[in-house]
Amino acid sequence: MPLLINRAVVDDSWLLVDEDNLTAHINEDIVVPYELFAQHLEQLVNAEGKLGVRINGDQALELLLQHLDALSLVAIEFPAFTDGRGFSFARMLRRAGFAGQIRAEGDVTRDRLDHMQRCGFDAFAIPDERYSDAILSAFDEVPVHYQGSADDERPIFRQ
């Protein structure tokens, strides 16, 4: 699954852990599912490595917002491309000052990348069968924005 960061394919240096191998990797750079994060909160925020959490629209962003200082990555899942909740999650994370990686995962394909980036995503995990290098032209197809976005909060009337 190609991972796109800053419009280039990069290797994923993060390790996704589950219940079983959490203890073994707790001091490495890991991404934990939201449930595990909630369960082992204390332990995780005090561990050595960098911490990422994977969340979806049914889960409470609030909990992440309370521990932003401990997080270096938030992976937001799109169970279907039509599930727009992730766009708001990214926006809310950025406005809370989160400067780490916000990664889009799941049904993440070309025609939503630009909106995602504008909402604050900077990493995109794209399914193999939907990836081609042409995908890089998905960004900035429309160069004028009426609304502010994560990299420039000014709407058109303040630009």
Partner: protein
Amino acid sequence: MYQYNEQDQTLINARVEQYRDQTRRFLAGEIPDEEFRGLRLMNGLYIQRQAPMLRIAVPYGLMNSVQVRKLADITRKYDKNYAHFTTRTNVQLNWPKLEEVPDILAELAEVQMHAIQTSGNCLRNTTTDHFAGIIPDEIEDPRPWCEIIRQWTTLHPEFAYLPRKFKIAVTGGPEDRAASQVHDIGLHMVKNAAGEVGFEVLVGGGLGRTPVIGKLIREFLPKRDLLTYLEAILRVYNLNGRRDNKYKARIKILVNALGIEEFSKRVEAEWEIIRSTELALTDDYIAKIQGYFEPHPYAADAVDGLSVLENQLDDNAEFRAWYERNTREHKIAGYRAVVISLKPHLKPPGDITDVQLDAVADLADTFNFGEIRSTHDQNLVFAHVAAGDLYTLWQSLRDLNLARANVGTLTDMIVCPGYDFCSLANAHTLGVAEQINEKFDDLDYLYDIGDIKLNMSGCINACAHHHVAHIGILGVDKGGEDYYQITLGGSSREDASLGKIIGKSVPQADVADTVEKILQVYVESRLEDERFIETVRRIGVAPFKERVYATVN
């Protein structure tokens, strides 16, 4: 009216090319059907029973003659020489080819038009009063606010994949011709105790399967806070609206589930955070947009036409009938607003041919400062016609079959395309509209019945707003046959209410006869000067029900 600047034009052109590329990739098999469906809907393209259907946006129902000529041209070049105006003041083409849609969009872009967000689960075209800017008791012209909302909604990156579609309507004063109470958000310009003008905000209205009247969420919203407050509502909805069942996905269901207090608490909490951000409107921007809606250069001597008009009215009863039904007062003395009826005898309501479109554009240039408006009732409006020009305009419209003097009467129906065009339909609507037209062709009878609103939808999606019509007709399918359920007492106006079902549905052949029985009860029961809706409200539906379902022996 608003004129695109370089940025607006760049955006619209880029959007056309983006959609052109999406179409190309779809045809090349690079985008799965389901995904392309989402993309094409966001650009107004449905796939219908016989062909695709393209919905073109008419932001808040305002067009100029250049745009209308372009529409005429497009129907000639890419369609079958006619277009259809909808209840949300947009235009639909029933026969475009999927491959040609990018070219149609490119032509529209030349005249500052587009099909952005005319369908799909996103922020739709904002609608308003078709008499905006000309009515005496208006608090403020709502159109600049519609334009501000248009810009904010256009390609909004966060709200392109909402749980369901989202529609906003704005009114400029106490009268409501925009059905604002059955919109996801209704905004009413109001004055507070301190004399400041702002918005009263309603939320959670909508029709379809579960008709709901919008609820008051804020009595007074200062102008500068308009977009931050809308964004707060949208964010709460985007995060909490149901996504598991599309029939329960509209904001009305969320508001009902949480209760308006809880919903409002969440909106206020979000608003607190964003109220003072860059999204707060600036006085400069408001003034700049308002500058596009300055009054037209009205002629000071237009009042001189009034005496001529008096004579013409006295001399010609047909002209007088049209004047009385199809025109209304304008705040500038010597001017009137004219409603161009798109409900001629035995033609589908809201349809207009290329020839008529061209002629309307020419007439607008001659008599109406080049401006044309489309209305919630599927008609057109020339809002500023000098008294002395009315007679000539009427003659021209009559020759075009656009002067049927039936505005506000029974045959001024809102009707969706129904089974003839729509793949979601349960029943035909156009044939039934024809049946009603045939039965009630006598203008004197229609005038005696007076103001009445009849709307007909071909299925529960309620595209023709049947729930909020005085007489609502809903097509249902009974064992493969078309039947029609009838509701009475609905209203989409400032006194909004939902109609009540009078009983079991009636077969297609009986619809007009049933309407006739309903009207008989009205005629027998009405008090002096009482309009149909008032009689229904006073006596209830029981007497109507009794008459309609009385057994004949």
